[in-house]
Subunit: 118 residues, 2 copies
DNA sequence: TCAACATCTCAAAAGGTATTGAGATATGAT
DNA sequence: ATCATATCTCAATACCTTTTGAGATGTTGA
């Protein structure tokens, strides 16, 4: 059954993505693939203290963009690509009515101009 | 020349989108198409005072997601579909490495499960 | 058991964001 | 000129977010 995330889920996800540390974490985890990475390693790669990392990873997890699974004394975080895809689908199709100009930008080879550039 | 929005632009746009009133405004304006709508009409449709509307429309405009053009005594706002598309492209391709599972969700017929649902 | 490790929680401080209502500004009509 | 209209600005208030450092919790290995 096709069911988009509801608005409040989408808002939580967008809010989670709108912070530079968290965007970097997500980039890192997507690049890692299904294997994910433990909190400490993410912190070392990106550069933040354990409490700061815990805070940001918690925001991402509560927003549903990453999953956290305990593995002995570590916590492995993984990007939830299905959730991320659902957010994209919500934005493109539900919020933007699948506007062709917007949809066109989503393919890897898309030639979309940056915002506010001539 | 293909050039994605830079990170700070993307963050401003994501932050602008992560508020329910503004997401509604954008939905409304995308549905309106290139004709756009004056501030007052958006406020009536969505339900907010002029000062609140001015604040939120300003956030969207500063983030580059909408354009504002003065037309006699009204200000016409329009969704900037190129900028919105560029944001989508940035998220999908630059942040998420064009992960196939994420890209798959962007077509209108995509069957993506919502975040956090079984 | 004890020490080291990985992560989380908590409270304080600083800064950012949203809402409200009053009022300023500018345009168009009488 | 005067008035109504459309929008923006401003200051006050309330609330939310981020960072920091200290320390709590739970896990593994000696």
């Amino acid at each position: 059954m096709i069911q988009p995330p509801d608005e409040s889920q989408a808002l939580a996800a967008l809010s989670a993505l709108s912070e530079s540390t968290r965007l970097r974490i997500l980039r890192f985890l997507v690049a890692r693939g299904p294997q994910g990475a433990p909190a400490g390693e993410i912190g070392e790669a990106i550069g933040f203290s354990s409490s700061r990392g815990s805070f940001h990873l918690g925001v991402l997890a509560r927003a549903g963009l990453v999953t956290a699974t305990k593995s002995s004394r570590q916590v492995i975080y993984r990007a939830d690509t299905v959730a991320i895809g659902a957010l994209m689908g919500y934005l493109i199709n539900d919020c933007c009515g699948a506007d062709p100009q917007i949809v066109a930008c989503c393919s890897p080879a898309a030639a979309c101009r940056p915002q506010g550039e001539s």
